[in-house]
Symmetry: none
Subunit: 117 residues, 2 copies
């Protein structure tokens, strides 16, 4: 059994036990549980915890940022909506009339939102 309990995982990853639970609550790292409910961190999760820490410090992003990126990966509708919003100007072909483009974009958004609800 190469799985560590929470305090062992804490010492080898640098996260406090408190933060390991918080990271789990944010949906980023969910360790297995023993029969009695103890968290059991496998080697791969330990590695991911170390990489996560590096990601946060090196790029100055927050846990919620990473959680949102995960949400983008799980929710294609959301990903498409965000991508569309971010690229509206860049994607507009120069020869298309602005008015037409705006109407098109608005229709696209309405179709998208209608599809979700």
């Amino acid at each position: 059994m190469d799985a560590l309990t929470i305090n062992e995982a804490s010492t080898t990853t640098g996260w406090s036990a408190r933060m390991l639970r918080y990271v789990e609550q944010a949906g980023l790292i969910a360790p297995a549980r023993s029969a009695s409910g103890y968290r059991l961190y496998g080697p791969e999760q330990l590695q991911r915890l170390r990489t996560l820490k590096e990601l946060l410090t090196h790029f100055e992003v927050s846990l919620s940022d990473v959680a949102f990126a995960a949400r983008l990966g799980n929710d294609p509708e959301l990903a498409e909506a965000v991508r569309g919003w971010l690229t509206t100007e860049a994607a507009r072909p120069a020869h298309v009339e602005l008015e037409d483009w705006l109407r098109f974009e608005q229709d696209k958004h309405e179709r998208l939102l209608a599809a979700v609800s």
Copy 2:
């Protein structure tokens, strides 16, 4: 010139003038400036403000979420680092983490609704 000042933009987009300045500060919509420094919102920006509002309310994302998505688009190194971190997760049994994330999101939603009522 078909550009609106901040209060005109406010009435046609539904954002308060205060929030229009805040959205600009978040790096999402930067209107042009007149010679004396007045913000001038063009039609594309007004449309983007409207769709942004829909994005936020319909998908329950925050301005900082969208700002982070924009940052992902502007910083390929960051995008690759995040994508890489997330896909190691996808290579492993992801259903547990997904469940957890959903519960987390639902709790957040409930807290939000509780705060409203």
